[in-house]
Symmetry: C2
Subunit: 423 residues, 2 copies
């Protein structure tokens, strides 16, 4: 699928560029068409056999393909040597910096999770430099684990609940972190360099909910759903939209800012300074405010978020009235805002991530009531509401996925074995 985060395809301006472009062509063909002989690759792609042999050798050296001998039944002569994608030696790393936690996750090309860690962090209370220190330290842990496993990193993608200028690697504005114009890519790169030496792979940053939507589309419970609205409940509310199988980017990559749709002109003041934004009603802070008094431990940002949500869920199971009322109110609010998105996008699925997924069973009823009342298309346009299985890991998974996708655009991102040993 198209993605504004993927590297631009190499333009074959010279011999080296042509070779890289053909290397990518063969790698993608192995991914899409499956294991096959060099002769078949040549026939399928139109490249000549000598070129294919040389390209396959390079892919093998880079740990992206492997050979296996296979007897062709009834064939005369030497058995064909089959080439197949080898995803185990390459890793993508996704990092998420959110209001009260950091996550890092590493995937290999086969989708296996190599590393996953979340740490609680009160980001609003810390200076930006300290947050980037903590983010770089967690990323370094993921990279060290990759090295221990003999996996070469293809890239790092840092997801942030923010308006992100993807091209310059800068957070333009993150209302809930209170960040403005933070050069995240430069900050993480400098800090990783101090820890592990200069990185040999690209570092990117992107909006967390857009990465979450890509992660869900690639490997979540409704993977492959071409028209998908992904909503993630964090302190704020993030949105990422897949439309016709592509991430909706927008003219400057600022699409999906759903948290600041005004749903209550007389409502609370939001972190962004406006009044009555959707996330003041249904964000984590809004939900916790409804559900518990200020001194209640569910508000403690030093506790892990899952632990705090477990407290809420337990109270709901015990039919605590304040908790149930709060969740019903949030579910109604979710439906009010989601109805706008369903009217505008007509998605097949609205997928609830973040804390919405954890407390989904208490939110879905009132949410559906509002959707049915407010969506103008019959049967709410054939839309289902589903809960994410990836939970708080979706953005980091999406980030790791984006890092890996870049390998299919430029396999030379992965160094050959000799460079690896000296690096």
């Amino acid at each position: 699928m198209d993605s504004s985060f993927s590297l631009k395809p190499v333009r074959p301006a010279d011999q080296a560029a042509v070779r890289r472009s053909n290397l990518a062509l063969v790698l993608r063909h192995l991914r899409d068409a499956g294991p096959r002989s060099r002769a078949a690759i040549a026939a399928d792609t139109g490249l000549n056999k000598g070129t294919v042999s040389s390209l396959v050798s390079e892919l093998v050296e880079r740990g992206l393909a492997r050979e296996g001998e296979r007897e062709r039944a009834g064939a005369v002569g030497r058995p064909g040597t089959i080439v197949e994608l080898d995803g185990r030696g390459v890793g993508g790393i996704g990092v998420e910096i959110n209001v009260d936690y950091l996550t890092a996750l590493a995937l290999d090309l086969t989708g296996t999770v190599l590393f996953e860690q979340r740490v609680a962090l009160d980001v609003q209370a810390l200076p930006v430099a300290k947050v980037l220190d903590a983010g770089a330290e967690l990323t370094a842990r993921a990279l060290r684990e990759c090295r221990r496993l003999g996996v070469v990193p293809a890239g790092v993608t840092v997801g942030i609940p923010a308006l992100v200028d993807v091209t310059s690697g800068t957070v333009a504005f993150a209302p809930n972190l209170h960040w403005t114009d933070v050069p995240v890519v430069r900050g993480i790169t400098e800090r990783l360099t101090r820890r592990l030496g200069p990185p040999s792979f690209p570092i990117r940053t992107a909006n967390d909910a857009n990465l979450g939507a890509l992660g869900e589309y690639a490997m979540g419970s409704v993977a492959g759903t071409a028209d998908l609205v992904y909503l993630t409940g964090e302190i704020g509310v993030g949105g990422g939209v897949i439309s016709g199988g592509r991430l909706l980017g927008g003219a400057e990559g600022f699409s999906g800012e759903v948290g600041h749709i005004q749903v209550d002109p007389g409502g609370r003041v939001c972190g962004c300074g406006r009044r009555g934004c959707w996330e003041t009603l249904v964000g984590l802070a809004g939900m916790l405010r409804l559900a518990a008094s200020p001194a209640d431990p569910v508000h403690d940002p030093s506790l892990d978020l899952e632990q705090r949500l477990d407290m809420i869920r337990r109270r709901a199971q015990l039919k605590d009235k304040r908790t149930l009322d709060a969740l019903a109110q949030v579910g109604t609010g979710l439906g009010v805002g989601a109805a706008v998105l369903v009217n505008v996008f007509n998605p097949r699925v609205v997928l609830l991530g973040g804390y919405f997924a954890q407390l989904g069973p208490y939110l879905l009823g009132p949410m559906m009531t509002e959707l049915e009342a407010r969506v103008i298309a019959p049967r709410i346009g054939g839309c289902r509401v589903e809960l994410s299985w990836l939970g708080f890991s979706a953005a980091a998974r999406g980030g790791a996925h984006v890092a890996l996708q870049a390998v299919f655009d430029d396999p030379a991102l992965v160094p050959v074995q000799a460079e690896r040993d000296s690096g």
Copy 2:
């Protein structure tokens, strides 16, 4: 561009299908690559020269290509025969059925307008059958004009302010027409057959604002803008979104229902039965209600809409306080709703069509004030607000364009000369 209205590409399942697919390939190549010799077409497409010659002959017979002899400078032997696209013999017809008018418009493949007519009609006051009668009569006039000009019709597309099931050709629900489950394609086809015999071309129906967005993207003032939100002010408010160069369709083709975003929970009851929908604030009916007393002639649906809007504009020019206040209020309302769409889509342009374009100079100021206050991205995400030049003809133009695009998917939609003369 992709469009949910275009015919599916022919699958080369048999010889005849392969030929049609290759015919389309050659026609599109002439459109995209420009005039060239048969030999060049063969080299570019990979088809053999004999096949190309036969396909070109068929395109000439169908009036879709023409030959011109051109001397190649310095070349030895016979001068090359250049083949080029011939768009003058094929027409697409777009029809719009709206609350208080009908429009029909015919374009040829070069984009020249062959026929355009709008008639005032109080659609809400008439039974569906009468409206379809009037729509078919206007369509027949466009078809007769095409016949007079020697232009072969490639198709008719009927735009309606409605949730449209494009596949079955049925209006599921049109709140402002008070239509539910109306088989528009069947109704128009039967009526055209009574007037002109069975049509030899496809008849389609689609949402008017989606067609308007396609028309603007193909031939409007901001043609080619890949991220475009088109808003049309009629009795209701229609929306069509181009994202990454493609029409946003949605899972069932029901996307872009922007008129029913709730902007005022305590507002007026809408034609859809809900309260405080955006179009109650900024639709034509809402604007006229603010601008003039019920007995004022601007409310008279038997007068042409442009004439009624001219009255409003003249009053605004004369600084009539009630008119100016009404337009300022509508401009503010436009900004409130558009801010939601700009936050969600991050378009390069919000294009105002329908009556918004006509009265734009009085709406833009207050609209921009709201956008600047409500959009979270800096500089409203690099978005401009512009006025449509196509005005009330955008949907009909888009419909004609969709009909013509189908020819590039299947040139055999256009009969050969012999069939034409006998038809």
